[in-house]
C-alpha cells in the first residue's frame, strides 16, 4: 500500500461527436492524492482538470469516452465498479463540491430538505432527526440562523451562503474520506472567497479529510495546499510539493502560469 488514497494512472479519453468522430481531450493523466493532504490541481479552463475529477465519481459528461487508465481508490479500481457499487462510493467515500453552488442545489426544495435527504440516504434514521443534522451542519459552516435558513430555497441564499451549504452537504452530511472541490470559490467576491477557503481548510484539518482542490487560482493554492498537480491541454505537466512548484518550477508552462499570476498580484 502506498500513502496515496487515490491514484490516477494513465487516464486518457476523448469526446465523441454527433457523427462519432473523436476529439481527444485527456492524454495519459496520472497523479496521486496523498492521504490526509490537500492537493491542488491547477491549470487553465479547458485543461481537463474538472473532467478528471468528475470521472473519479463517474459523473463525467456522457459524451466522454475513456480509452485507457485506472483510478485506484484504496487500491481498487473505481473505473471497474458497476453502477451500484459506484453509488455506494458516492457521498459515503468520495463527495464533491461544485463551482456554482446555487445552480448545484435543487431550486424547488429547501436547502434543509436537500441536506436532510442526503443524511437519511447516508445514515438512515427519521426525517426529523435528519433535519436536525442538516441544521447542525449549517450551523457548523457558520450559516447564521440555521433553523430559519434550512427552510429557505437556494435562490434565497447568496452565492457564498449557498457554497457553505454545499460544503456542509459534501463534507459534514456525507462523511467522506475524499473531498473534491471543483473551483469552489470561482465567481464569489474576493472576501467571500477567502472565508470559504478558510472554512475548507479548517474542515479538512479537523476531520482528517483528503482534499483535492481544483482551481486556476494559484494564490489560493500557495496558501492552502501541500501538493500541486499542474495540468495543461489534457496532460499533467508537473507534480510536486507546493513549495517545490512555487520556488523551482521545472516545466515551462508552470513557470508561465506562475509569472502570470504574480503579474496580476503585483498590479
Amino acid at each position: 500500500m502506498s500513502d496515496a488514497l487515490l491514484e490516477i494512472e494513465d487516464y486518457s479519453g476523448a469526446f465523441v461527436g454527433e457523427t462519432g468522430e473523436l476529439t481527444p481531450v485527456l492524454h495519459g493523466v496520472s497523479y496521486r492524492l496523498k492521504t490526509g493532504m490537500m492537493t491542488a490541481v491547477v491549470g487553465e479552463s479547458g485543461s481537463g482538470k474538472s473532467l478528471v475529477a468528475l470521472s473519479i465519481l463517474g459523473i463525467q459528461p456522457p459524451a466522454f469516452e475513456r480509452s485507457s487508465g485506472r483510478m485506484l481508490f484504496r487500491g481498487s479500481d473505481l473505473l471497474e465498479l458497476d453502477e451500484r457499487a459506484m453509488q455506494g462510493i458516492r457521498g459515503a467515500e468520495i463527495s464533491m463540491v461544485f463551482q456554482d453552488a446555487r445552480a448545484a442545489l435543487n431550486p424547488v426544495f429547501t436547502v434543509g430538505r436537500q441536506l436532510a435527504d442526503v443524511w437519511q440516504l447516508q445514515h438512515g434514521g427519521s426525517r426529523r432527526a435528519a433535519m436536525t443534522q442538516a441544521i447542525e451542519a449549517l450551523r457548523r459552516v457558520s450559516i447564521p440562523e440555521p433553523e430559519r435558513r434550512a427552510l429557505q430555497y437556494p435562490h434565497q441564499f447568496s452565492g457564498g451562503m449557498a457554497q457553505r451549504a454545499m460544503i456542509a452537504m459534501a463534507s459534514l452530511i456525507c462523511e467522506p474520506s475524499l473531498l473534491i472541490l471543483d473551483e469552489p470559490t470561482t465567481g464569489l467576491d474576493v472576501t467571500i472567497q477567502s472565508d470559504i477557503m478558510e472554512l475548507i481548510v479548517e474542515l479538512s484539518r479537523t476531520r482528517g479529510l483528503t482534499t483535492c482542490l481544483i482551481t486556476h487560482d494559484l494564490g489560493v493554492v500557495a496558501e492552502t495546499c501541500q501538493e500541486v498537480v499542474v495540468m495543461n491541454a489534457g496532460r499533467v505537466v508537473e507534480t510536486g510539493s507546493a513549495e517545490a512548484i512555487f520556488t523551482r518550477p521545472s516545466d515551462g508552462y508552470t513557470q508561465r502560469l506562475l509569472s502570470a499570476s504574480q503579474l496580476v498580484e503585483a498590479a
Partner: protein, 338 residues
C-alpha cells in the same frame, strides 16, 4: 415579498379585466362577422316596417355602444339572450350541456396526464434508445392525426370490428333513462342513485371519446415532459444529487420530475382549456350532448346568441384554466412564491 394569500388574491383580481376584454372582443367581433340577425327572425316577405320593429325589439336599433352597455347589463344578470334554435335562454342551454362536456373532459384529460407524464419520463431517462424512439413516434402521430379521425378509427376498431365497446350514441345507450340529476356527471350520479349497472353502461359509452381525447392530449404532454425532464437530468442539481450518492429512482422522480413539471403544467392548462371548451367535432362524432355539439349547431343555424354565449363560456374556461395553472405554479415553484 408578498405573502402567498396576497399573491393569489392579486392574481384572482386579474380575472376581471381579462374577462371584460374577452366579452368586449366577442361582442364586437360577433357584430362584425354575423351581419344582421334580424334576417333570422323576419319572414322573407316582411316589410321594412316589420324589420325595423324586429330590430328595435332585439335592441339592434340602438347605436352600438348602447347595445354593448345593454349586453353588459344583461351579462351581469347571467342573461346571455335567447337561443333562436332551442327557444330557451342561452345560459340555461349552456348550463344543461356543461356537465357532459366537463365529464368527458375530465376523463379524457386524466387519461392524457396519466399516460403522457410517465411516457415522457420513460423517454427522457432512455434518451436516444428504443423507448425514446417509440414514445416520440407515437406522440408525433398523436399530434399529427386529427382528433376526429382518431375517434373514427377507434370506433371502427372497438365498436365495428371487435364489438368490445358500444357505438357512438351519446352518454348512455339509446332508450336508457338518465339517473336523477345531482352533479350532472353520469359516472357520479349513477352511483349516487345506487345503480352500478348504469355506471358500467355510462363508463362504456364514455370510453371511446375519452380515449380519443386522452390520446391527443397525452401526445403533447409526453413530448413536453420528455424535453423538460431531459433538461433537468442534465442540470447541475441532478449532478449534485448523483454525486451525493442518490439512486436513479430518487434522482428521476424526486430531484428531476418536480422541476420538469413546470412547463408541463403550463401545457396542461392549455390542453385543458382546449378540451373543456368543447371538442366540437369529437362531440358530434360521438353524439355527445355537450357544448361542442351545441356550438356546432349554433354555427350551422346562425344562432347568434347561442354562439356568442358559447364563445364567452369557452374563453372564460381558458381564463380559469390558466388561473389554476398560475396557482399551481406558485405551489410547485418556490421562486415564484417567495
Amino acid at each position: 415579498m408578498p405573502p402567498l394569500g396576497k399573491m393569489i388574491l392579486r392574481r384572482l383580481l386579474w380575472v376581471f379585466p381579462v374577462a371584460f376584454g374577452v366579452v368586449t372582443m366577442t361582442f364586437f367581433m360577433a357584430r362584425v362577422l354575423n351581419g344582421d340577425p334580424t334576417e333570422l327572425y323576419a319572414p322573407p316577405e316582411a316589410t321594412d316596417a316589420l324589420r325595423a320593429e324586429i330590430r328595435a325589439r332585439l335592441g339592434l336599433a340602438d347605436p352600438l355602444p348602447i347595445q354593448f352597455l345593454h349586453y353588459l347589463r344583461d351579462l351581469l344578470h347571467f342573461d346571455l339572450g335567447i337561443s333562436f334554435t332551442t327557444g330557451q335562454s342561452v345560459a340555461a342551454d349552456l348550463w344543461d350541456r356543461l356537465p357532459a362536456t366537463l365529464e368527458l373532459g375530465f376523463v379524457g384529460l386524466a387519461i392524457g396526464i396519466a399516460a403522457g407524464i410517465p411516457l415522457g419520463v420513460l423517454a427522457a431517462v432512455h434518451r436516444e434508445r428504443w423507448p425514446d424512439f417509440v414514445v416520440r413516434g407515437t406522440t408525433l402521430s398523436g399530434m399529427a392525426l386529427p382528433q376526429f379521425w382518431v375517434g373514427l378509427v377507434l370506433i371502427s376498431i372497438f365498436f365495428v370490428d371487435l364489438r368490445w365497446l358500444p357505438g357512438p350514441v351519446g352518454r348512455l345507450p339509446i332508450g336508457i333513462a338518465l339517473p336523477p340529476k345531482v352533479t350532472g356527471f353520469l359516472l357520479v350520479d349513477t352511483l349516487l342513485a345506487g345503480r352500478p349497472d348504469l355506471w358500467w353502461l355510462a363508463a362504456k359509452q364514455i370510453a371511446l371519446p375519452a380515449l380519443t381525447l386522452g390520446f391527443s392530449s397525452a401526445a403533447p404532454i409526453a413530448r413536453v415532459t420528455r424535453s423538460a425532464m431531459a433538461e433537468a437530468l442534465q442540470s447541475d442539481y441532478v449532478r449534485t444529487a448523483i454525486a451525493m450518492g442518490h439512486g436513479k429512482r430518487v434522482v428521476w422522480f424526486r430531484y428531476s420530475l418536480r422541476n420538469a413539471l413546470l412547463p408541463v403544467v403550463t401545457l396542461i392548462g392549455g390542453v385543458a382549456g382546449h378540451i373543456f371548451a368543447g371538442a366540437v367535432l369529437l362531440e358530434s362524432i360521438f353524439a355527445w350532448p355537450g357544448l361542442g355539439q351545441y356550438a356546432l349547431q349554433a354555427i350551422e343555424r346562425s344562432d347568434f346568441a347561442a354562439l356568442q354565449g358559447f364563445v364567452i363560456y369557452a374563453s372564460l374556461l381558458y381564463v380559469i384554466a390558466f388561473l389554476l395553472v398560475d396557482l399551481l405554479y406558485m405551489f410547485i415553484d418556490p421562486r415564484i412564491r417567495t
